[in-house]
């Protein structure tokens, strides 16, 4: 099971069975991975991550495109894609918030921060804000426990969180939206 996603079926963008043709940048990176692993199955998971980096998430069309390119059974690849926390099979916002809710962060008050952030963003775990800016996802212990409570926003760790620091961060990100390549 990956993260709990919204039950809102409109979140699922496509049930298409048509493979998307991978773009040149994606193919170049996948070909590089082929030199690091002895078989294509190992590259499959890497390819999912590469496509996600370029497209923001892994759509059905992308998954089928990877399966076709690497000559892997789509069902196997889907089994892998849905197993791992960080492969997103639904669209996510421009900034994914990985919110640590493991034991030390819990002791340090992350339940209260969760109530605060879900209220201020208007979304619960697994959901994306209407402006497409944030997706909020719980994550197991981020390994920064002496600075708890913590979360990641995009690639950056945010430490010693308080209600105020979360508010400031949300405003800061909204003022300076980050562009994702290829999108």
């Amino acid at each position: 099971m990956s993260v709990q996603m919204s039950s809102d079926s409109s979140m699922i963008a496509s049930t298409s069975t048509r493979a998307r043709k991978l773009n040149a940048a994606e193919i170049a990176e996948i070909e590089h991975e082929m030199t690091l692993y002895p078989d294509k199955q190992a590259v499959g998971l890497e390819a999912l991550k590469i496509v996600q980096k370029h497209q923001g998430w892994v759509s059905d069309e992308s998954l089928l495109g990877i399966a076709k390119y690497l000559d892997l059974p789509a069902s196997d690849l889907e089994g892998v894609a849905t197993f791992f926390n960080l492969v997103y099979r639904q669209p996510v916002g421009r900034n994914v918030i990985l919110f640590c809710n493991s034991v030390t962060c819990w002791i340090m008050g992350c339940d209260d921060l969760r109530r605060h952030i879900t209220h201020s963003l208007g979304i619960d775990f697994g959901q994306t804000t209407e402006d497409g800016e944030f997706t909020l996802i719980p994550v197991p212990c981020l390994g920064d426990c002496d600075k708890a409570p913590v979360m990641m926003v995009g690639e950056k760790m945010q430490r010693k969180l308080t209600r105020d620091s979360i508010d400031e961060l949300v405003v800061e990100v909204r003022i300076q939206p980050k562009a994702r390549d290829d999108v």
Binding site: L98, I107, D146
Partner: protein, 426 residues
């Protein structure tokens, strides 16, 4: 010589040392020692004699683990070294510090391990969320290639080694070494049946050693300064130093390299500064989320594998999670059960179905709907999910805080049931 071989180069006020700085601090001396004429068997004997035990959690002797890899002319040509850098044990934050703070130390240690088992290919299986560690390691690997510590015929020894940095896509179960191998092969990370053990048939069916980051970081010092120096570092029965961490409501949470055998009290009250004002120590998990609770009466024990074991717990990762007297112990155990239920790979039934059941019962305690039968079901699950009942160690790990929690916090569990609420503020 140093008494902090793991962290002496780490200074959080600057970036990690580059390769020149690392070399100037006796770095890569292990490979130079090997180049002067140590055979793989020589190195194996040195590491065996040192008494180094694995720092990932299980505490298995490193040299003994390596000795199971087939050696000699008849053995498979292709062997692998895999670094378990998938730090995700709740409350554990030591490998992050080592990789971000001194990435060359890990590569240095990998050279020793790979040379000993004669593996020409090594993968670092790094947690995907560890972006800073990824960047530090990428740079260090590149520098090591440029300086000839990686690649072909390293320092004229005839030994070749390539390192690939693999970033994981998540899941706690990848810390289990056979699940990690499946993930690296691009499969769902379900654990594999043992035997065969990875040392004989691991990654792509080839002999493979999986070692934790901190374990490997111990090796350069052992090779550079010798076994006597290494054993002299310790204050207790086990050898060397270890990363110890404290998190929770203490005055000064953090991570320190200390000699094995350091008293728990010195870590908790000295380095971590003791409890915050107004709070009392209630209990602590000594080595991450899969260890048994220990109590204030255990503070004078030493941080040694056997000594913590005799108190009914495990030293494991050495990163301690502290419970204070104003935080609900039932809620803390419940939080851990949610984690384990979420992170079960779903392969075997007791773990897949048992952990969510346990988790649900804890939610009932929180909501004020718990009853005596629930308590009995929890007690039963200590056995149902215990060692030997499941395919891997994930669910047995969950029973450690569950079983010890039910024992030590029995009054709190009863109170949740009789009062039909949680009386703590959180």
């Amino acid at each position: 010589m140093t008494d902090r071989p793991l962290t002496r180069n780490i200074d959080l006020n600057r970036g990690p040392l580059d390769i020149a700085g690392y070399e100037a601090a006796d770095g890569y001396q292990s490979m130079h020692a090997i180049a002067k004429g140590l055979s793989p068997d020589d190195v194996l004997n040195i590491v065996k004699t040192s008494g180094l035990k694995g720092r990932g959690g299980a505490g298995f002797p490193t040299g003994l683990k390596w000795s199971f890899v087939p050696r000699g002319d008849g053995s498979p040509k292709q062997k692998y070294l895999v670094v378990n850098a998938d730090e995700m044990e709740p409350g554990t934050f030591k490998d992050r510090l080592l990789m971000e703070g001194d990435p060359h130390l890990l590569i240095d240690g990998m050279l020793v391990a790979a040379y000993t088992i004669q593996a020409n290919m090594a993968y670092i299986f790094l947690r995907g969320e560890y972006i800073d560690a990824e960047n530090a390691l990428k740079k260090a690997v590149k520098e090591a290639y440029e300086r000839g510590y990686l690649g072909k015929n390293i320092l004229g020894t005839g030994f070749d080694l390539d390192i690939v940095l693999h970033t994981s896509a998540g899941r706690y179960i990848c810390g289990e070494e056979t699940a990690l191998l499946n993930a690296l092969e691009g499969r769902r990370a379900n654990p594999r049946a043992k035997p065969p053990f990875p040392q004989v048939s691991g990654l792509w069916g080839k002999p493979t050693i999986v070692n934790n980051v901190e374990t490997l970081c111990n090796l350069p010092g052992i090779l550079a300064y010798g076994v006597d120096w290494y054993q002299g570092l310790s204050r207790g029965v086990d050898h060397g130093t270890k990363m110890f961490g404290v998190s929770g409501k203490v005055k000064n949470p953090g991570c320190w390299e200390l000699p094995l055998g350091t008293p728990v009290r010195e870590l908790l009250e000295g380095h971590a500064g003791g409890m915050r004002d107004g709070l009392e120590l209630r209990a602590f998990l000594p080595g991450g989320g899969s260890t048994d609770f220990m109590l204030p009466q255990h503070l004078d024990l030493n941080l040694d594998y056997d000594e913590i074991g005799k108190a009914g717990s495990r030293l494991a990762t050495g990163t301690m999670i502290v419970l204070d007297d104003q935080t609900c112990p039932v809620g803390m155990v419940g939080n851990l059960m949610t984690f384990f239920a979420h992170e079960s790979c779903g392969f075997c039934t007791p773990c897949r179905d048992g952990l969510p059941w346990v988790d649900e019962i804890f939610r009932g305690f929180e909501a004020g709907t718990g009853n005596q039968k629930d308590l009995q079901i929890l007690h039963d699950h200590i056995e149902y999910l215990g060692p030997g009942r499941t395919f891997c160690a994930l669910a047995p790990g969950a029973t450690a805080p569950l079983g010890s929690g039910l024992k030590y916090f029995a009054e709190d569990f009863e109170k949740h049931i009789t009062e039909q609420r949680c009386s703590y503020k959180h």
